[in-house]
Assembly symmetry: C2
Homo-oligomer: 157 residues x 2
Amino acid sequence: MQYFFKYNWKVREEWYHWCENLSEEQLLKNRTGGVGSILYTLFHIVDVEWSWIRLMQDKADYQEDFIHYQSLNKVRELDAQFHIEVENFVNQWDTSMENRLFYDTLSDGKIVTDTWGEIMRHIIAHEIHHIGQLSIWAREIGIKPVSANFIGRGLIS
Amino acid sequence: MQYFFKYNWKVREEWYHWCENLSEEQLLKNRTGGVGSILYTLFHIVDVEWSWIRLMQDKADYQEDFIHYQSLNKVRELDAQFHIEVENFVNQWDTSMENRLFYDTLSDGKIVTDTWGEIMRHIIAHEIHHIGQLSIWAREIGIKPVSANFIGRGLIS
């Protein structure tokens, strides 16, 4: 489980670096699909990862509003702030936590049950999916996207 | 590891179903980014998954040519054919295989080493990434994409 998080964090860091070459207008421009802009995608990834990790631990999930994070630096700062808590949780993950239950109340009031193992994989797949979307927008802009390769990154020694 | 493969196979099946509403022209239309078309993306996912699974086992990796798979049914048939071998390998995966080494000769002749654990995660991330790309093209066409959610699919009982 930890390896996928490390992969996501590394790829995300490379996307932040990639974004440095873009204007604020390009970062915030409304695009077709996903959550609508490059910067909002990165903000959304950071927010969703942190929120699920908080929810599993029965901690309050503050709803961050993107309106307050309209620059690359602000999103990176939020990420750095959230990352301490997220990394701490991920690092102490072990397989005995796989089957713990989380009761999720949906918007229609219905209560569904997810295992922690499902939630962890949900967080991982969520980020990779949105990063795939960024790679299309990158090509639309005409810039080579960050590699999505897992191999070749030295993630597992 | 198995859960992520099951997730990918389920999501892939839903994309095949989604594709049934598209014309052959829409499926094959050249689009910006990724490998260039919706059908080629699905073909590529199937081909890459199978190839890596073959390579780890020192089996020959036939280079399938997309020119022979220009319809949804042909890609699905290829997938069904490859799936037997892929599923068999994935089902017998256990953590003792994590650190086995694979020596990969790159196009420039350089030899790099990947662990089997890295390759398995590479296959998983590879598919999720490309599916993220499909979701953008879906919105460009004006059709709601398949959900990328891991939770809510009953993948872990």
